[in-house]
Amino acid sequence: DPEPWIENEHLRVLFDPVTGHLREIQNLAKGFSLPVFQSFYWYNASAGDGQSPQASGAYIFRPNGSVPIPVAKRAATRLLKTPLVQELHQNFSAWCSQVLRLRPGQPYLELEWTVGPIPVSDGLGKEIISRFETPLRTAGRFYTDSNGRQVLERRRDYRPTWNLSQSEPVAGNYYPVNTRIFIKDQKVQLTVLTDRSQGGSSILDGSLELMVHRRLLNDDNRGLGEPLDEPGDDGRGLVVRGRHLVLLDTAVAAADLHRPRAQEMVTPPYVVLAPGPGPHLRQGSPG
């Protein structure tokens, strides 16, 4: 497809026809768009170096460089459009894929990512991130929640309560994300909701990233005595699947959108099945 896209009544999402990456999100209701690139990268987990013997491990996130490596430069893609869902399937590698979905009536883009088993036969521990890049002028600022409630402003290489001399340009800027992370300028806000707690940051202006999976080969010398190397049932390493909801709105209206969505993310409706006509429970009503 020369110009792959998916849309619903709220959003139109464009993809790069060559690399298959997310390229732009258009907010149809409010008539504005934002170029948004998203892909998966991995930080090479430190095993200790000349500066410090500290390795990345269960307690410690310490990449051995500030520039993460792309999982792949492009993705093989498939497009699926039905009346109830439009989705683009991206296959970055045997251990990294994603489905980007729009459904009628949903004012957000759903990214269902599947990562693992993380290959470590090269002897390198890996910390996998999903990174979003935009032209937003964020001046080093980004926002993360605390336990799903108060959102705090974060500022790169800075702490509000003491003079920080930054020794870890990446790890020193990672914060806990329990439900949401966002970046914004005066007009536009890009919010990403998570379906579980993850590490998050904004290492470059206009970008935000979330750590979705890790597989490490060294103990971090905090008393555990084993690396964070979850073999999973088949011993090949855990496969993890999760969801990120991407919301693009004006900065003033963004909270109206992400607050109810985050509630649904944390306490979604629950499906139970029964054979045949099943029970006649207290009936629901549309809407």
């Binding site: 498939r78 499906v271 099945l273 009936q283 009503s285």
Partner: protein, 170 residues
């Protein structure tokens, strides 16, 4: 008898900083998961009992815990089943339901007995899911605040020819 104290106990144990942060040894992490899974199972019996009371029925209920990888034995093998959507939020929600199925077309009726349209059947080949079914049934459901909705699903035609059954891998 269903019992929510098993899960309450498991969640209480998992308040330990190791469980919260993932800094425990592997065998301890496995044990936290085991306790939580046992608690989950015991709560599902409790929910099934509640549904039986609410519906004056003894019908068996099935909780498909692996819908995220398109595995649900009941919807994959039964041509006639009911989907019960429980909404824990204090406001009504519309919710997309997506179930692995073997048939190629289905009729869905809502709590008022009206047909739900549209209903989509998509091939699962795109998803490469772990499930055994060749396709997925999609429809838009909804549920009232803190309440249930039941949607009846009937298969209209068998699997599309040439769709070999794919057994769950692994």
């Amino acid at each position: 008898p269903g019992d929510s104290s098993v899960l309450r106990e498991a969640v209480a144990v998992a308040q330990h900083h190791d469980a919260v942060a993932g800094t425990e040894r592997q065998h301890v992490a496995n044990d936290y998961a085991r306790q939580l899974a046992k608690g989950w199972d015991s709560c599902q019996v409790l929910v099934a009992n509640a549904l039986s009371l609410l519906g004056d029925t003894k019908g068996p209920f099935e909780f498909c815990n692996a819908l995220n990888i398109s595995v649900c034995p009941l919807s994959e093998t039964t041509p006639h089943f009911t989907v019960i959507l429980y909404n824990p939020l204090a406001r009504g929600v519309a919710w997309p339901v997506r179930l692995p199925v073997r048939g190629s077309s289905y009729a869905v009726t809502d709590p008022q007995g009206q047909p739900v349209v549209p209903v989509s059947c998509v091939t699962q080949r795109l998803r490469g899911g772990a499930g055994g079914a060749p396709g997925e049934l999609l429809f838009q459901a909804w549920a009232p605040p803190l309440g249930f909705s039941t949607f009846e699903v009937k298969q209209l035609s068998p699997a599309a020819p040439g769709d070999p059954p794919r057994w769950p891998s692994g």
